[in-house]
Symmetry: C2
Subunit: 308 residues, 2 copies
C-alpha cells in the first residue's frame, strides 16, 4: 500500500503563539518528502519530529505573507550547513527567488547545492510538478496577494498480477513480466487470454489538496473534485464572516461548504485566528455542513489513504 | 538604583537546536527595552518571557548572518499586527533596510509605524545612539562579514543631595533644587559653601558590551575597557582553535583573555557550537583565565549592576 500522509507543523494564522506555529506541513508519499509552506520556525518543528530535512527536495509556497514563508531562509541555510549537495526546487506564485537571493547575498552565503525556482501562475491551474507516480497541480486561490494552493494527486497505479488466474492458466514464469506490463497471453493450445483476465485492478490512487489562504472561492471546486483529503483554511467562525471576507479568509462553515461541494472524502481545517482558544467552535461549525472534519493542529498526522 | 539587566533569548551558533535558540538578547535599562540581534523565532522567545514587544524601540543587529537577523521580519510584522504606531529604529553595519523592504514589498505590507535605519560603520567605533542617561557605542569586530558589537554605557549620574550637610548648614528648602543642579550656596552670613560639600557622589554608572561574532581581536579592548559585564562569543574550545580561526570565531579561552585584558568585571560566554552538549567544557576553559565567567544560556538573566 502506498504511504501518503500529511504532518501538520503549524496551524496559526498571522502571529505565532506559544501553542500554535505558523503554517507548514510535511507531505510524505512513499518516503518522498514535500514541504508545504514554511512559516518562521519550521526548521525547528521538523527537528522536533525527527524529519531528515535533506530528504525534502521540493518546497511549495502558497504565497508571500510572512506566516507562510519566513522560515524558508533559515531552512535553506541549515540544509547548507549540514552539507547538502542535492538540488532543491521551490514552487511559488510570486518572486521568492528575489527574497532568497537577497538574503544569501547579504550573508555572503555560497550554497553548495542548486536551488531551482518554479514560477507558478496564480491565475491558472496547471501541472507544476510530476514524477512517475505523482502529479502536483496548482489551485489558484483568492487572497489579498497572489496565492496558490496545490493538489497532490497520485497517478493511476498499474494493474496487479492475479496469482489465482496465473495458476489456473498455467502461465509460465517467463511470461509474468510481460503480463505485468499489460501484455495479453496466448497459450500453447492457441487460447488467447486478455490481460484483464490475468490481472487485478491497480491499487487505488489518492489525492490531497492544500487550500490556504483564501476567501470562499467556488472556482476551486472543479480542480479538487473528489479529493481524498482536503485542507482548507478556516481562519474565522461565521460570527466573524465580515472580517473573513474583508481579509480574504474563510470561515469554518465556508471551508465545509467547499468540502461538500467538491465531494471531498475528509476535510481538515487550519490557519486559525488566535481569537479562538478553543478550536472546537470551529470544528462544530464545520461539522454542521460537513461531518468528516478534523482540526489540523500541530503534530497531527493524517493518513490520506484512510478513506478507502 | 538603576535597573540594568540582560536576558538571554538565544545562545546557539549557526542552526538552532531543540534546546538552544539563535542569538538574541533583551537589554532592560530602567524599563527601556533594547533588542540585541534577532535570530529566527525571537518573537516567540519574547512571548515566552512575557516581554511586551511594543516597548522595544531600538533593535541592534550585529551582522547579517541568518542566525542573527532572520527573526527580524516576523517581529516587525507582528508589531504591526498588534497595532504599533511608534517609531522603531534598527542599527546595523550592513544594509538591513534592503532586506526589510523587499520582504514588506512582496507581502504588500504597509506598516502603520515608521522604521528608521541607522547605518553603523563596521570599521570605526562610534556613538550610534544616546539619550539623557545612556550612550551606545559600536564595537568593530573581526568576522567574515561586516560585524559590530555594541557597548551600552550609562552616562555619569548627577550628584545627590546630602541630607546631613543640608541640615547642618540650615539650607533653606527653596535652594535645594539649585544645589541639585550643581549650584553652590552662599549663606546669609556670607559663608560660601561649595556644591561638593552639600552633595554626595552620583550613583555608579554601569556598562554592558556585546561582542559577537568575532575572532580573537585585541582592538576591541580599549573600547570595552573596565566594562561591568562583557558578553563575548565562545563558539569553540581550544581543541578547535583552528576551526575558530578559520571561521572567524573565538574559543572560550580567547573570550576570557579579552575579558581579562579589558579588565571586565564579569564575563558571559555564548554562541556555542552545537558540538558541545555539555557547556561546562567551555565554562571551565574560560575560568582557567578569567574566573568570573558565566554561561549565557537561554532564559538566563544577568544583572549588570551586580558588580558594584
Amino acid at each position: 500500500m502506498t504511504k501518503f500522509s500529511v504532518l501538520i507543523l503549524g496551524s496559526a494564522s498571522a502571529a505565532p503563539t506559544l501553542t500554535r506555529n505558523q503554517t507548514a506541513q510535511l507531505i510524505n508519499i512513499d518516503e518522498q518528502y514535500y514541504l508545504m509552506d514554511c512559516g518562521e520556525g519550521t526548521q525547528l518543528r521538523l527537528r522536533e519530529h525527527k524529519i531528515k530535512i535533506q530528504r525534502i527536495n521540493h518546497i511549495f509556497i502558497s504565497h508571500l505573507h510572512g506566516d507562510h514563508y519566513l522560515g524558508l531562509i533559515g531552512l535553506i541555510q541549515t540544509m547548507h550547513l549540514l552539507g547538502r549537495t542535492s538540488e532543491l526546487t521551490i514552487y511559488c506564485p510570486s518572486n521568492i527567488q528575489e527574497i532568497v537571493e537577497v538574503n544569501l547575498r547579504v550573508s555572503e552565503s555560497h550554497l553548495k547545492y542548486p536551488i531551482v525556482y518554479k514560477s507558478v501562475n496564480p491565475k491558472k491551474s496547471e501541472l507544476v510538478y510530476e514524477n512517475d507516480k505523482l502529479e502536483v497541480i496548482s489551485i489558484p486561490l483568492k487572497h489579498r496577494i497572489a496565492c496558490s494552493g496545490y493538489l497532490f494527486k497520485e497517478k493511476p497505479k498499474p494493474r496487479r498480477i492475479n496469482p489465482k488466474a496465473i495458476n489456473a492458466h498455467n502461465i509460465p514464469k517467463y511470461q509474468i513480466n510481460k503480463i505485468k506490463l499489460g501484455g495479453d497471453y496466448t497459450a500453447e493450445n492457441g487460447e488467447f487470454i486478455n490481460n484483464r483476465r490475468l490481472t487485478l485492478d491497480g491499487l487505488p490512487s489518492f489525492s490531497y489538496a492544500f487550500c490556504s489562504d483564501t476567501k470562499y472561492f467556488e472556482s476551486i471546486i472543479p480542480i479538487i473534485k473528489d479529493v481524498d483529503l482536503l485542507y482548507h483554511e478556516a481562519t474565522f467562525t461565521e460570527e466573524h464572516a465580515d472580517r473573513a471576507s474583508k481579509t480574504y479568509h474563510s470561515t469554518a462553515k465556508q471551508a465545509a461548504k467547499i468540502a461538500k461541494k467538491s465531494n471531498a472524502k475528509q476535510l481538515i481545517i487550519g490557519h486559525f485566528s488566535n481569537r479562538y482558544p478553543d478550536l472546537n467552535v470551529l470544528l462544530r461549525e464545520s461539522k454542521t455542513v460537513f461531518e468528516k472534519t478534523k482540526i489540523a493542529e500541530e503534530g497531527k498526522f493524517f493518513d490520506v489513504t484512510f478513506s478507502k
